[in-house]
């Protein structure tokens, strides 16, 4: 790894890998997720403890810090929302 921030493509790949690990889904199924794919409130496995694990893993693997106030329904509702949030956090550094 260089010291450069991950590219958008890398963030997308990492985020899908984290969702595979948290949801125990086949990578091929997660590869089908698009911007409108529903997450929190749509996937029964994704309860509050699972979301907490998801956020903690995003912090570790994307090297970002997620504050309480950052977490809202919008960022968790769809895959596109979560990806946009992750990208913004990585840019923030």
């Amino acid at each position: 790894m260089s010291g450069l921030a991950p590219s958008r493509g890398e963030i997308d790949t990492t985020l899908r890998a984290i969702l595979c690990d948290v949801l125990g889904l086949d990578p091929d199924d997660v590869a089908e997720f698009d911007g409108d794919t529903g997450l929190f409130g749509h996937l029964p496995e994704l309860d509050s403890m699972a979301v907490a694990g998801l956020l903690t893993e995003m912090e570790d693997r994307l090297d970002i810090l997620i504050e309480d106030d950052d977490v809202d329904g919008e960022m968790l509702e769809t895959y596109g929302g979560l990806l946009a949030f992750a990208e913004a956090k990585v840019v923030e550094g």
């Binding site: 890998a17 125990g24 979301v51 694990g53 903690t56 893993e57 977490v71």
Partner: protein, 228 residues
């Protein structure tokens, strides 16, 4: 098989607890200290699957409950990290292990004197953070506002229930600063060595036979390789 053993309680007294054991009086005897709290449930099946494989490989293993774990009659809110460390010391006296395996935050309870392994060790702060976060997210969903800072203050002063786990103030405060002790005799088994994602991350408890195979093989080869 299941057996019962006598676990010390903080402040004196004892509690009868269950232990899952594969004990044939063999040379290599592994004490297993499981993941804690929320991760305990998610890692239980993996942990026992590794023990079953080690049994077939000729290694004895022991998974004692401490006070406040699983079916224990001792309330979790009365337990302390120090008390659990004393519990592990008592378990060592009872089961006479030659080695130790800790899983995740179980590493916080690792005894000094035994060689062995730590699977993906993590600190108390990280364990608390995920559970605190789950509580703030659940509160937000329910239309209540709870901040991390307020919950931490409550945890330190009165104790707190996080993700269903009743943590006393002593336990909460100790976890905030607890890190796995340094010990060169205990090798880390990183998740990357097992293939696949960490099962503690799963939203629902799950198992992965290949990960259990890999973990048992790492331990069995190290223990039995020297006997050949």
């Amino acid at each position: 098989m299941y057996t019962s053993w006598t676990c010390p309680l903080p402040g004196g007294g004892t509690s009868d607890e269950i232990a899952l054991t594969f004990d044939q009086g063999r040379k290599h005897r592994l004490l297993v200290i499981p993941a804690l709290f929320d991760e305990a449930n998610k890692m239980r099946r993996h942990t026992v699957e590794v023990m079953r494989r080690l049994d077939l490989s000729g290694v004895d293993s022991f998974l004692p409950d401490l006070a406040g774990w699983n079916d224990s009659l001792a309330p979790l809110r009365n337990q302390t990290l120090e008390g659990w460390r004393a519990g592990i010391a008592a378990a060592i006296a009872e089961f006479q292990p030659s080695h130790v395996l800790t899983i995740r935050a179980g590493a916080l309870l690792a005894p000094d004197g035994l060689p062995g392994w730590r699977h993906a060790p993590t600190g108390g702060k990280q364990a608390l953070r995920a559970m605190l976060r789950a509580r703030t997210i659940a509160a937000k969903e329910a239309g209540r506002e709870e901040t991390m800072e307020a919950l931490q203050a409550l945890g330190r002063s009165e104790g707190i229930t996080l993700a269903g786990w009743q943590l006393g103030a002593d336990m909460f405060a100790a976890l905030e600063s607890a890190t796995p002790p340094e010990n060169e005799m205990q090798a880390e088994i990183a998740q990357s060595l097992l293939g696949g994602g960490g099962l503690w991350l799963r939203a629902e408890p799950d198992e992965d036979p290949e990960q259990a195979d890999a973990m048992a093989a790492i331990i069995a080869i190290a223990l039995l390789g020297g006997d050949a």
